[in-house]
């Protein structure tokens, strides 16, 4: 499943959020969109499933122009994990997970089996959690449900919008590991938005660095670390190593 973004621009009144962006995601690849706030990374992601319509350019999935697909049909075929999780508070966990299946008209017994399978995939115990409300779950558990919901209709494309940004570091680490395992297991093609450098290096097969609506550089983590295209990318790539050095220095100053 190949995603191609071709010369896409998004303008709001007099602001250009995304400026003539072109990139592609290979089948089975996880591309990280990395950048600060206002860099256009989330706008780019939302244009892929048409939550936002581009002002110019086009986006194709497996060669098919997304503009020719009914938006809600398109979105049912693409898994979407939200930054603010976005579980429906008036539905149970099971109802949240199967919501897309219901929209697709699955019969109840089949979607029940699928819900249990998905909850197990995201490492939640279906029996304990199926009939609970989202408010009864921790943030980490909620986002696991969010991932399960996105995977329900077996999409081959996933879009993730800073999915683990609001979680504490340990929970974030566990969810990152879970997601890496799941995406390998299911061979997902994914776009993953983050502003966290370390997360980008850990998750991405390739990283697209965006700044002020433009693509600054795209490449594997190794390429970006070794040969940053400009000063902005270099400073970005330096942050984790600089932070690691501070941590090492602390350890040397205070031996156990």
């Amino acid at each position: 499943m190949l995603i191609e973004v071709i010369g896409v621009t998004k303008r709001y009144a007099n602001i250009v959020a995304v400026d003539d962006l072109s990139l592609h995601v290979e089948a089975g690849e996880l591309l990280v969109l990395l950048g600060g706030s206002g860099s256009g990374k989330t706008t780019t992601l939302k244009m892929v499933n048409r939550l936002i319509e581009p002002s110019a350019g086009r986006i194709t999935i497996d060669g098919q122009d997304t503009a020719t697909i009914d938006p809600h049909e398109l979105r049912r075929r693409i898994g979407y994990v939200f930054q603010r999780i976005g579980l429906f508070p008036h539905m149970t966990i099971a109802e949240n997970v199967e919501v897309t299946l219901t929209l697709l008209g699955w019969e109840s017994a089949r979607s029940q089996r699928r819900v249990d399978e998905l909850l197990e995939l995201v490492e939640l115990a279906p029996g304990l959690i199926r009939d609970r409300r989202p408010s009864e779950l921790s943030g980490g558990q909620q986002q696991r449900v969010g991932v399960a919901r996105a995977l329900a209709a077996s999409p081959s494309v996933m879009l993730l919008d800073e999915p683990f940004g609001a979680l504490d570091p340990l929970t974030r680490d566990r969810l990152q590991q879970s997601f890496l395992r799941i995406r390998r297991q299911l061979n997902l093609t994914a776009m993953f938005v983050t502003h966290d450098m370390v997360e980008a290096l850990l998750m991405g097969d390739r990283i697209a660095v965006m700044n002020e609506g433009r693509l600054v550089q795209i490449g594997t983590p190794g390429e970006l670390l070794r040969s940053p295209a400009d000063d902005y990318v270099r400073r970005l790539m330096d942050t984790p190593t600089r932070q690691a050095r501070v941590v090492e220095a602390l350890l040397e100053d205070n031996p156990a």
Binding site: H72, F82, R84, G86, P89, H90
Partner: protein, 511 residues
């Protein structure tokens, strides 16, 4: 008390009919309208603004306006329809506003999530937005429920029976038991209906299927009951029943019972009384054939219907002209004069009048500047008052409008000095008041007339003939005694009327 409670099933059913259907229609309009306003923001000002303006109209006025409006449209203008429409209009705003507020309060992240998982706009509304806004919408429906039950008590003056009949007639006939029964019944009804809506909301939110089923069944039964009762009434309505109207004061309640009872006794026709109609509503209702007969007064027709401002002349001349006018302009027949006059009159405390040497209205000219005058709702707007005021050059220190049942207490207790009394009111004598002479004849004569509507004249000559038999059967003294029996002794208009009819029959038999 038991006499009052006997009327409860009828009034309660009528009240439920008005309230439940007004709420149903109100919600059926307001929730979709709220959704539309939420989606098309530019509709907010025109739609919610209009509903707000309607809400600021005093409810009694809103219902009263329905009468001439519906009459102009040529549909039923007295009774269920005007009350129903008025109450429905009143129920709209809380539901509409809460629907808009509830939908606007849905977390934008959840709206985006709904789009993101592939919901169409309709699916998003049904599966996410409406369920999440439901507690706020239900709160609006609860507000409307309580409001509607209250406003429905005001449908009595436009001819729709309700629990308000207890309150209106109770206040007029000084029957506090009736007022209390009406208020308590309305309050209990409001609490019960509010409880049902709250129960429905709670059971939906907490997903108690069983409870929701119980509440929905109860609501369903209430609606089926009201539908069945409405259908039955509609069927019964076409059996040539004679409908007698009554305005909102004691004398009218008694006379309407007398007319109704007499028609039933002599012709065997079924008859019913629609009481507590607003003063001009009664005449409009007669002309529109919503009621068949009621008692009005020659001077009232002269001044408020014929709009004559000049002094009237003698009784016979006014009567002749009024009769001709009614027949020629409205097809209404004067089926008889009852035999007494109930005129507007200025009355004051006997002692105060004596102390100041006041005997006629003319003597007030000097004292008026230090005096306060009280009048009923209509009086200061009526041509008679203008004629009296200008004819005698009266300038009072202040004028107060109050309910006619309270005026007599007010003057007896010294809160006001002069009132616009009715000459047949028994309380004039009972409270030791004196009626001031109208030397100039500024106030027209007020012969009590039995007015038969166009339908009776056309189709029921037997009923008109029966009504004619009542000509000259009640003199002023007799009317005063009957009024006092209700106002002071606590008899009901029905018992007083029954006594009168028995005496009338005995007198006939004797002859």
């Amino acid at each position: 008390m038991s006499e009052q409670l006997a009327m409860l099933p009828g009034y309660l059913t009528a009240h439920l009919q008005l309230t439940l259907f007004a709420l149903l229609l109100g919600a059926a309009f307001s929730v979709p309208a709220g959704v539309l306003v939420h989606r098309l923001r530019w509709l907010d000002q025109p739609v919610v603004g209009t509903a707000s303006v309607i809400q600021t109209i005093p409810s009694l006025a809103l219902l009263a306006i329905m009468v001439p409006t519906l009459a102009a449209l040529g549909v039923q203008s007295i009774g269920f329809l005007p009350a129903f429409i008025g109450i429905t209009l009143y129920s709209v705003l809380p539901i509409l506003r809460n629907t808009v507020t509830g939908l606007a309060g849905v977390d934008p992240a959840l709206v985006e999530a709904a789009r993101g998982v592939g919901m169409t706009p309709v699916q998003r509304l049904r599966r996410v937005e409406l369920p999440l806004a439901m507690p706020v919408i239900l709160a609006g429906i609860r507000t409307s429920t309580v409001l509607t039950v209250g406003v429905a008590t005001l449908s009595t003056p436009v001819g729709a029976p309700s629990l308000g009949n207890y309150i209106f007639s109770g206040l007029q006939t000084r029957n506090l038991t009736a007022v209390l029964v009406g208020c308590v019944a309305a309050a209990v009804l409001a609490l019960c209906l509010d409880g049902l809506v709250r129960g429905l909301g709670a059971s939906i939110v907490r997903r108690k299927r069983g409870w929701a089923a119980v509440v929905l069944t109860t609501i369903g039964l209430l609606y089926s009951f009201t539908v069945v009762s409405l259908v039955q009434e509609a069927r019964a309505g076409d059996t040539g029943r004679v409908v007698v109207g009554a305005k909102t004061f004691t004398e009218q309640y008694i006379l309407s019972e007398i007319l109704s009872g007499h028609v039933a006794q002599t012709t065997g026709a079924a008859s019913e009384v629609v009481s507590s109609l607003g003063s001009t509503v009664a005449f409009d209702a007669l002309v529109a054939e919503e009621i068949d007969v009621y008692v009005d007064y020659s001077g009232t027709i002269w001044a408020t219907i014929m709009r004559r401002e000049t002094a009237a002349g003698d009784r016979e001349a006014v009567l002749g002209e009024v009769s001709r006018f009614l027949r020629e302009e409205h097809g209404v027949e004067v089926a008889g004069t009852l035999g007494f006059e109930n005129s507007y009159a200025l009355a004051m405390r006997r002692q105060q009048a004596k102390d100041r040497g006041i005997r006629g209205i003319g003597d007030l000219t000097v004292y008026a500047r230090q005096m306060v005058i009280g009048g009923d709702y209509e009086f200061f707007g009526r041509p008679e008052w203008i004629a009296v005021r200008d004819g005698y050059q009266l300038t009072f220190a202040s004028q107060r409008t109050m309910d006619s049942s309270l005026m007599y207490q007010a003057v007896a207790g010294g809160q006001v000095d002069v009132i616009s009394a009715f000459s047949t009111d028994g309380r004039i004598a009972a409270l030791d008041l004196v009626v001031l002479e109208d030397g100039q004849g500024a106030i027209p004569p007020y012969d009590a007339l039995i007015l038969a509507g166009p339908r009776l004249v056309r189709e029921r000559p037997d009923v008109v003939a029966a009504l004619r038999q009542l000509t000259g059967t009640i003199d002023a003294e007799h009317m005063r005694r009957m009024n006092l029996a209700v106002d002071q002794d606590g008899d009901t208009p029905a018992t007083v009327a029954a006594l009168f009819l028995r005496e009338l029959q005995e007198a006939r038999a004797a002859r």
